[in-house]
Symmetry: C2
Amino acid sequence: MTIKNGKKMMFIHVRPWVNMNRNGGVMSENKIYKPKQISGFPEWLPEYRAVELAWMDKIRAVFERYGFCSIETPSVEEVDALLAKGGETEKEIYTLTRLHADDHDKDSRLALHFDLTVPLARYVAQHCNDLVFPFKRYQIQKSWRGERPQKGRFREFYQCDIDVVNVDGLPLHFDAELPAVMFEAYQSLDIPPVEMHISNRKIIIGYLQGLGVKDIPFVTRELDKIDKIGVDKTRLILAMHFELEAQELSSRERLDLAQKCLDIVQIQFADNGFVEKVRTLGVANDLLDEGLKELSFVMDNLKHLPQGSVIADLGIIRGLDYYTGTVIEVRFKDKPLSIGGGGRYDNLAGAFINQKLPGIGVSIGLTRLFAMLLDEGYIKPVAKCPTQILVVLPAEERRAEAAATAHSLRLRGVNVELYHSATKVKKQMSYAEKKGIPYVWFPPFEDGQPHEVKNMATGEQVQADPSVWKI
Amino acid sequence: MTIKNGKKMMFIHVRPWVNMNRNGGVMSENKIYKPKQISGFPEWLPEYRAVELAWMDKIRAVFERYGFCSIETPSVEEVDALLAKGGETEKEIYTLTRLHADDHDKDSRLALHFDLTVPLARYVAQHCNDLVFPFKRYQIQKSWRGERPQKGRFREFYQCDIDVVNVDGLPLHFDAELPAVMFEAYQSLDIPPVEMHISNRKIIIGYLQGLGVKDIPFVTRELDKIDKIGVDKTRLILAMHFELEAQELSSRERLDLAQKCLDIVQIQFADNGFVEKVRTLGVANDLLDEGLKELSFVMDNLKHLPQGSVIADLGIIRGLDYYTGTVIEVRFKDKPLSIGGGGRYDNLAGAFINQKLPGIGVSIGLTRLFAMLLDEGYIKPVAKCPTQILVVLPAEERRAEAAATAHSLRLRGVNVELYHSATKVKKQMSYAEKKGIPYVWFPPFEDGQPHEVKNMATGEQVQADPSVWKI
């Protein structure tokens, strides 16, 4: 290091700061942290992400078409808020800790939300004086669950939720509106046809009460698993359960009772025929009647949807035990897989506010649906970028003119890239091809020449005026 | 509890399951968890969220107008990946822990990302074989920092980033393109006018090298704080520093040297006049020349932006020390606040891949900007919902007809709510008013009557046909 004294100039050979950072800061080239996929946390390449984004746009447009407003809640809630409702979700919660935590963290236990319903309940309770009821909101956001990752399960996933919450009572109107919105949302996506399966909890509970069943939660839980367990095995499990619950019955009677339980959940009608069918089972009480009446109203008000796309399916139970009326499940027509659903709860925010706030909500499991169709090859990649035209840069000295062309096209809403270097035209066109850009624009290479535009799909190349051209 | 034996019917008075959950599951009415705002995690009421969403739509449209593709990375990265670059961000990282962690968590230390640059670097390194370079991406996502919350600082915040990453070399083209995109993005929002302040790190570093300064990081750090510390104090601090670094200088010479350092950072020009001005300071070397040339190119290629909206500002240093060329800061014209910025880095993903990937990126601090303008009352609330028409429900027996009217209007892209109950028309209109719905539609109240629509702003009410009506 030489130091040359002088009033104005000193030349010191230091290790220049600029270069100090060229190897990526503190890392030497030997210390590479090789990145890998984190299980359960999906990410997509641009040509698939564009599809996911288009899906969200379409879903959002349908939600807004019915007047639902957007809200977004923080990714975190206080742990106590997440657990206030109780339930079995505790172990799936991710809590946050600062890497170097200090005092000011101690009192706030924060965790990522595991669904969008608890945050909604907290939001409505917290802001209820500022909201107009019935409050209709949609929320397209990520949730997190610390589950053991497995195929089709994600630790981070998008859900698209709509809910209506009201004070005191919530008109049945919304029990029909929500499946209609949901159906339209699914229909807006380019996916296999779906069916809305709808029931009402009051039917199964009224019916089981009518049958004299005591442990209704147990029985409904078993009935909810028929698809996995099978009808015969479920009948046996129920009969065995009745051995404890109704010892006065003969084993024949217990099997009959189990069969009675099975009878109702196998009722499926594309219209109101389910009412008559339930009547033939010979059970009647107020709760059951109420359920039948409510489901009939819902079916009546979904008649505008395509024939066969709405099924009154009394086998729909839905695991979450806070549903109290209408329950909805969305399935593909050609396979029994659930791809969304929801239902009505008599008191959404009971954990947060001393006021009855009934609600009804449905949810699209976006990430799960998207990943499944991606996996099946059903979702095709689109272009790797939103660019509609690549403007060729003919030569460095023509940069200003080419930039003006790009600018002029952009002013009319066209997505335009100006190629970044005055390299060979062939190389520039190859870039357009690789990125799936549909048009290439040639500004004049010499003064007096016309502009031309090439359609990359057809190969057609024509003269064009950048100030009027449209796709 | 009475049990009535019988083959078919048993009536058991159990505490009905439906009611068991009406008080909100496990919570009794006395155990209310009163929700409160979590400091640093903002959320907005629907009438402001709609503005935020509109902002994101506009910003995204501008990004796509220039051909940037969307990507989204998981909210989490492995802690090692987040720390691979080094730096002082460690203590701001939020790590995740499952509330009931067990074995399968032990090996994966996950944390929320604190910016979108590290995730981009990891993404590009991981997927580089599947991307087309130059890779131009945008990312509108939340980031998290466990900072002590204070006014204007958030623990969860949206950033809108665009970056271009290339293999080996990255054309200077993008150093001009990114400020142009950024300017257009800000201009698309209804906010006070902004200025793009641009410099090039090579200028200040070349200049300081030319002056013989040894500890360039220290000096640039001090120069970066002038706005906070003031010119006079900064001069003293630098002079004191030179007492250690250049003991051979007299105290007069040290003050002169400090002044020399200050001279360059006070240069601001709305055109290429800065080159001549720097020349008058009497320092010259290759690095400085390179910087001046690059900044001139950038300024030349931003001439299409409104006069005075781009400033060559040699005082722009930007704290993050991985910038190696162009540095950009966005400020309001009428106050010196930074509301966005970015720059060029010679090697983005050096921590993740043994390949040189230079990049340039800029970022809009969306949440910070939005919250600030909200706080100042600059952002006005919009309607509480996206509904454009409320269709009145004249009577329960006219529900099907009213629903058909709503359906017909929706088919043409209008956002429609059908009122949920056949209550008094006055009550239905008051709902429209409270939600800020601009039109109310009256289907026939009796057979043979015409449809009518009322403009809520003007009070004008006219006959209309639901099959052709448009806003």
